[in-house]
Symmetry: D2
Subunit: 380 residues, 4 copies
């Protein structure tokens, strides 16, 4: 199948979000990176393309040039979809112009800086019929999808309570230092919008509530936390939620929950059962009921829903981290081939293979000899 | 940087190992897939290349042709390294011929079917100076590397005990059915070598022992388990180990540990501490000592070793499954662009973005109003 | 040391709370049960005393008689302290009369039905100088005490956020059945006071907040949940908290969190660290910091505080459930002595001892023989 | 019901095992401690009896006197059963003499020092018809009993694999110090018998295998670990097991698994399922099957067996540690009554009760006021 032509805006240099999007685009063999503006500085832009091995003929000097030049190409060569990985304030103008010129959009979160801008984009999407994906990444986990499908299929009955938490601690070392808190862009409303904690992670938690329950939040009451008078941005907060049908919920988000890493967790309780998922242990879905034993669902089993199974590539018991583990071995090999002197333990070698076969044959020999000691070869 | 030219042998169709190697080769931007023999059947071979979007001009009809044709190309265009993902019995002849013709090799496990063959490859690698990576994938996990570095740096003192386990249950539904157990290739010694459990997973456990401790196993005593007289292949076993310096260990592996998924676990105890890692929860390393509190190491922190940090791409608290989660969103978008009617919940859309901004602005309004209820817009 | 003379009010029959108080009074060898009114029905009262082997001469027909008769005894024979385990509405009148007559009081929760009554008791305690213990049992856990001591000693710096949860699901099967919800005493305000969920378990969570932080709650905002219009009692709720010094917190309690058993959990975050404890896994205290590894404290170690160690009777790694496990063996033996035909597996017998010694001697023989197989005696 | 008259041998002073047996004997209201020899030194013996409030008239100066004097009493006053908590070498002579004189016996582990002695006791029990309980305490846990009942009822089908582990680390700080290892009684064969690790904890693991599976071990092969040449006692070891019917198993025990506390764990796998229990988290039984979700059994549910439920006193979600937690509150109260100046946080007082009621009434007021802030009273 022909690959979809993907353009990338931002995400150059050491950007983690850039790595994440490129790998994600590769994993299911659907996309090729056709063009990009990785960086506003030309040398870094083109240098990065070379470093990661992207053809440089469609690396553009800026966003407007990308639009202009791509539009000159015939439709079947033109970029079809662009991923917006730039600083937040650029999300809205870039998405708007892309939609106006016929490009599908994949956009990092937050989609825009204001609700007004958001509605403008929604209108454009509706009018143009183009596709727009917002990367609320957590909804991509197989067991988040399983959770959603179980709620929707009635497996836990009528929803009666929702509790979502998103706890991080990374702002703690910043907030108590007046110098640091006045210079961090996340805490500057001119750069990060009107909210820090709610805007950055509360919105993920909110999306999880609506995604998993299929219920809209109808109203809320928030108690936000600023810690210092000279800090204008919330860094923690508790929000009471009312969902459709009068269902009550609570959303708790924090960036000063000292020592927490990325503690996103959601529980949905219905009149027939309860479901809990935690991002830091994403391969487990806890399934509770009134009188049965706690069940722990894992991905890839026949008891999972089609939507969940469609997002699972590995057999049960293999955390997706195995992609990364294998990638690290390829990385070591690349260093070796490039004579970059890989670390001694960076990849297993032929000697490990020799040892392995010696092991296997020795176990069988021990068994056949009546469970006796067998010496392994110490030459290799 | 110019990408390394990678050839792929096997791994076509629905092969999971094929996906794993392709993604791993992509993740750090080092490789491009230049040529391949994905499948011995030509239509499937070329069809698969087209499906995953690999240029078809260097898809060869068989392995020998690949070698012959690539050797005709100038060295700076030729495939540099081949990944062998074919059935086990082909590993040895392919690896041997690749090495004899100047190609680096990445080889799936088991490296060969016999110890004799393994030693031949080792000699070839030594003689040619080529690189050979055996994909004992688990050694690529950041915290396995951390475990190894802590043992090597003396953090737990002198090693005095090693315990490794690899428990799966997948053969249970096969072994008790005479028809099934006589037709499963894993249980056929002519196809799978002299051992099933030790050959398939015991060898991973063995490699973990030597990798993490840096100590060679010097001798062993095995008690293997066959369950039925007409079954010639071990499906479970316990192995007593003696390591260099007289250190004692035990290795337990099973494919009839009913209901276990992929339970690889290792504990190394020294005279100053103990370390435990489990594959099913790979982002935690348990660190014990005589009188201190149990410590739980996670990846990406400053307390981790350089080798461990070099294999970590994400910030603390983000399991690598996030690559997969993001990939699932890209997959939904691809289906939408291709008008394949993605599932309603397969990716977040602009409407989710509108909802998110409405949420953020409402939380701030609630706070400013003195923690009062704010209605969310129900039009969008 | 002479035992303290303890009187018991209520707690007869199958009362779990009765067992809990009797065992607790026994554990540290401080009390003897001297008198009681276990039950308002005389036959059950005296019958229960006989069943549990309490001398019957000071089993009284009712509470007023107990007071009157005990006051006739010389002070050094008289009951010193009474445990009130009766229905809630009796707590206040009994506690009041006990204090007015010079008895110390141990009182189950809730202390009274109203705040007004509570203040009357507090005044009496202040005036009389008598001791009054309210059994907020969770504060007795060694690691809750450790948590408190760490907060107080400054180990996590200045408290900046508190999150407490108490989730149960037991009312779920009741609340959706109109008949059941109208006949359950817990949901009847005339019997259970003005609140169900907050009164029964919210108050435990509240106590944990003030106990562990040492900070008073200064104000709150509650959102309670009733589910049905004909139900007058809250069965779930979220409460926003403001503590002394402006510290913000959130308290969540539920009896309709379907499938949850007794999910009490508290997290306290300060500017130098964070602490988390869960009642369902009470032997672990999670200790977090900005940049260090997560630490897991367990009871009985030298790193614990004096208050924590003072409440620990067992060595590390032994959950207190071992009291119960041992008690079950004593129970089996009692049944055997009383010729009540204990279950075959209810206690280990001399045959288990014979097997054990055969095992031990065989292991040593196997070792001495060079790790060879030794047959165990199959006669015993 | 009349209490069973219990005698105690040993267990005085700070003995933990003494506390454990006394509490266990109390918990189900079956026993009264009628007589004892707590200590061979008379002052300590009688002093301890006074300290814990046991009547001193039947505290005897030594074991032989206890036997002689008790035999003079009429049968319905005489001690019926004795608990032997003395040093190991006394177990055999005491148990023998007790049985020969008509007393039931509860005996700490190991039952005797040798297999020969063990068989003598077994013969005596058979001949006299007296009851003999050996305190393999772990078999008393509700979920160990549940595990056993599930195996026996066929819930996991035919047993095909057993794996038991008992890992501790407490000998690590001793074994590497020549002075310490030569003076620790556990490492002195004249005091502790022929085995340290296998005798002390291996035997518990062995008992768990036979108890849970109902299968006898028929033969074994052991590899024991001594670490130093001058150490004659095993401190670690791996034992291969063969059970009735040819079932294979492995037993691993260690006292040099540095940092491990009391890591007893057993897994039993059958052809229809697998079961795992861990002592350090005793309220969870993991239940696995080929294709279903992992189930986590907890005590006290209707899905548990009668034997398991018979050993459960508390509702689901309450770890038995609650006995201890409540006992700590009683302890604080005792100190207060005795004017021993309890720690400020040692028990909740009437003030906590006042605070609690203020909390409850405030939550309802906040709700009724439309979820508004309510100030709590700061006077109390």
């Amino acid at each position: 199948m022909k690959k979809i032509r993907l353009g990338i805006l931002g995400g150059g240099g050491d950007s983690l979000i850039g790595v994440l999007h490129r790998v994600a685009s590769f994993i299911n063999d659907n996309y090729e990176i056709t063009g990009a503006v990785f960086n506003p500085v030309w040398e870094e832009n083109i240098g990065f393309a070379e470093k990661i091995g992207i053809p440089t003929n469609r690396i553009y000097k800026d966003f407007d040039t990308l639009i202009a030049e791509e539009l000159k190409l015939p439709a079947d060569e033109r970029i079809q979809v662009c991923s917006i990985l730039t600083p937040n304030f650029l999300h809205f103008p870039m998405a708007k112009k892309l939609l106006e010129n016929g490009f599908h959009v994949i956009c990092e979160k937050p989609m825009t800086n204001t609700y007004e801008e958001a509605k403008i984009l929604a209108d454009l999407v509706a009018k143009t019929g183009l596709h727009f994906a917002l990367t609320h990444t957590y909804t991509g986990y197989p067991l988040v999808r399983q959770l959603r499908e179980m709620v929707h299929s009635g497996a836990i009955g009528k929803v009666q309570k929702v509790d979502v938490q998103y706890y991080q601690g990374w702002i703690n070392p910043i907030i108590h230092d007046k110098e640091k808190r006045s210079t961090t862009w996340r805490l500057d409303p001119t750069k990060a919008g009107i909210s820090c904690c709610m805007g950055d992670i509360g919105t993920h938690a909110f999306n999880m509530v609506e995604y998993t329950t299929g219920l809209r939040v109808t109203s809320l009451l928030a108690d936000l936390n600023y810690l210092y008078e000279d800090n204008q941005m919330d860094i923690d907060g508790n929000v009471l939620l009312r969902l459709q049908g009068g269902v009550k919920g609570v959303l708790r988000a924090s960036q000063i929950a000292t020592g927490e890493e990325n503690g996103l967790k959601i529980s949905v309780y219905g009149d027939r059962g309860g479901l809990t998922w935690e991002q830091e242990n994403p391969n487990r879905l806890l399934v509770r009921s009134d009188d049965g034993a706690l069940q722990v669902y894992t991905p890839g089993h026949s008891y999972n829903s089609a939507l969940s199974l469609g997002g699972t590539k590995l057999p049960p018991g293999h955390p997706e981290g195995i992609f990364d583990a294998m990638a690290n071995i390829y990385l070591g090999m690349a260093r070796a081939i490039r004579q970059q002197n890989p670390h001694v333990a960076e990849f297993p070698t032929v000697i490990d293979g020799v040892r392995g076969l010696n092991f296997i044959e020795s176990t069988v020999a021990s068994q056949k000899g009546g469970n006796v000691w067998i010496d392994l070869d110490q030459q290799s």
